[in-house]
Amino acid sequence: MKRLLERNAWTAGLAGFLVLLLLATKLIQPDFGASGLDSLARSALPFALVTVGMAIVVIAGGIDLSVAAMMAVASVTAAVLMDGATDGQAVYAILSVLVLGLAMGALNGALIVVTRVPDIVVTLAMLFVWQGVALLILNAPGGGAAPWLRGLVVGGVTLPGVPPGLTDWLPSGVLFLAVVVAVLWLPIRRSKLGLMLYAVGSDPQAAFRSGVPVGPVRVAAYALCGLFAALGGLTVTMATGIGEPIPGPYLLASVAAVVLGGVVLGGGRGTILGPILAVFVLRTVRLDLTLMSVDPNVAAIVEGLIMVAVVMFGAVLATRGRRT
């Protein structure tokens, strides 16, 4: 038990900090309750999903600058496919968006492995390409989403057979996130692929000599990142009912959350839970600023400052780590 705590000290600290922040929110706004938690979860969900994707790539020793643009592609594709579709067709639309996400990520990874151009340059170029694709699909926000999807990410959880009072406080967004991560990431983490992702991230050469197929593992990491980015874009469409061709500040936010979540830029170390907690911490700070009636533009500046400070701090730590 003690060892478990020691190994996850950072994550535990983040969780404690998040609880403190939520208590502070309750102090600022005494009405803060189930609906407040729900709007927090709803705003954090796309950030959390894309951060999971970014964390996987960073753990595998890379970085993906095109996540926000891939989210935009997924969002507009989902909105266009689901516009006027029946509930049954919507399921196929979602499946095809997820496959599209995997394909976009795999293409990023394949380009990095095949051309041997550094990941940061390839994904920067692909950032522009995916932005262009999103604009070609939908020039302005529009499209539609099946109404039942909104219920998956908005409002309290209602489980059949359980009295509503017990589950009402839990936002559906959190449940959605937990289910997606549990279904997609945990099996991979436990499998050989999960181990290989960490191995490639910590030392690609050593991994190669121990028989890890480095190239395919990298492609798999980027494909997973694309999948989670597509999920993130999908939740944007699910929550708002429209597709957004111009992505929000998801790239910087995901890098900041990954760093704050204890994943080392450079790879090989960190968990998925830490970054997710970090996303909620950053979103709660934003929420508190809004509740304290700070001008939203000023709040955006403060948020940007926090993110840049976190990334700077992480970079200093990474440099220190390399020297010793």
Binding site: T115, V117, V121, L124, M126, V133, L135, N297, I301, A318
Partner: protein
């Protein structure tokens, strides 16, 4: 190198293209102009040449920021924001405090953005891409806050900027009066001054430069401040050219400025290239943009094309210089 005798002819050609990029670039430019003449023979005239130069000048100046930062292996993605802020502040502050002080404040803002970038890159060792993206985001937030405070003042475009941006002398744009000394200064600085040589030294091998006594942080700080100042200057010129103060004035130039430097043969990994190629790259992109407009290519398609060009040129560059 005694290897040259055993090299394949294609490799030798590749080396020639990497070492002397101006020659193939001129050929590409002429080929593009020829293709344009075939598409629309009526377009070629002195007026068209002058117009192309006029449009290419702000782009070439912003691409100077990319060229200089890329020489050290960095990049500056905040140039569009810095240019926009300089332009917006000039236009809105002129009615209040007069043109000279407004221009002074505007240049101060652009310089400040560059300095923040420099501090992050020099001291915290954040990757320039992430750092400049972050400052760009924060600066955009500041611009939105500023915009509210000046919403009623109206805008005035200082006459000297309008003269530079739209005037013509002997059929050629007046912008050349600013650009020719500017380009001469950059070309002289990169080859003949200690600062220029330090940029190449850091880009080729930062550790070696550090060990030979270069204070890398000073170079980074100066470089990014300079880049911010250049961006501000091109923003002013752009303001005189388009005579609209909008919040997204120069943002669309961000991506082409990177593309112009990459096309011009400056290596995104540092240590190779120069401003001469970048000027040709900016001209090529401007002619290409005219052609895409003639072919009615939508904005999304252009972004895809720019991204693809960056990726392709970089991959080609790696193939050509790979000696292993």
């Amino acid at each position: 190198m005694t290897m040259t005798t055993t090299e394949a002819p294609t490799a030798r050609l590749g080396r020639l293209m990497v070492d002397q990029p101006l020659f193939p670039l001129t050929l590409i430019l002429l080929a593009l102009i020829a293709a344009l003449a075939i598409l629309n023979p009526a377009i070629l005239s002195l007026f068209w040449v002058s117009n192309t130069l006029k449009i290419a000048i702000p782009l070439a100046m912003l691409a100077a920021c990319q060229t200089l930062t890329m020489l050290t292996g960095g990049i500056d993605l905040s140039v569009g924001t810095a240019a926009t802020i300089a332009a917006y502040v000039t236009a809105t502050a002129t009615p209040l405090i007069g043109a000279p002080s407004a221009i002074g404040i505007a240049m101060g803002c652009a310089l400040a953005i560059g300095m923040v970038n420099g501090i992050g890159v020099a001291f915290a060792r954040v990757h320039p891409l992430i750092m400049t993206l972050g400052t760009g985001l924060i600066a955009t937030g500041c611009l939105l806050v500023y915009q509210r405070s000046v919403i009623s003042t109206g805008t005035i475009y200082p006459e000297v900027l309008v003269w530079l941006g739209t005037g013509r002398t002997f059929g050629l744009p007046n912008g050349l009066f600013l650009f020719i000394p500017f380009a001469a200064l950059i070309l002289w600085a990169q080859r003949r001054t200690g600062f220029g040589r330090l940029l190449y030294a850091i880009g080729s091998n930062e550790a070696a430069a550090r060990l030979s006594g270069v204070r890398v942080w000073q170079v980074h700080l100066t470089l990014y401040s300079l880049s911010g100042a250049i961006a501000g200057l091109s923003g002013l010129l752009y303001l005189g050219m388009v005579k609209t103060a909008s919040l997204s004035l120069a943002l669309p130039l961000d991506l082409p400025s990177v593309a112009a430097a990459v096309i011009g043969g400056t290596s995104i990994f540092g240590g190779r290239g120069g401003y001469g190629g970048t000027i040709l790259g900016a001209l090529i992109l401007t002619v290409l943009a005219t052609m895409l407009t003639l072919l009615q290519m939508p904005e999304g398609g252009r972004r895809i094309l720019y991204g693809a060009i960056i990726l392709l040129v970089t991959a080609l560059y790696i193939r050509l210089t790979d000696r292993s």
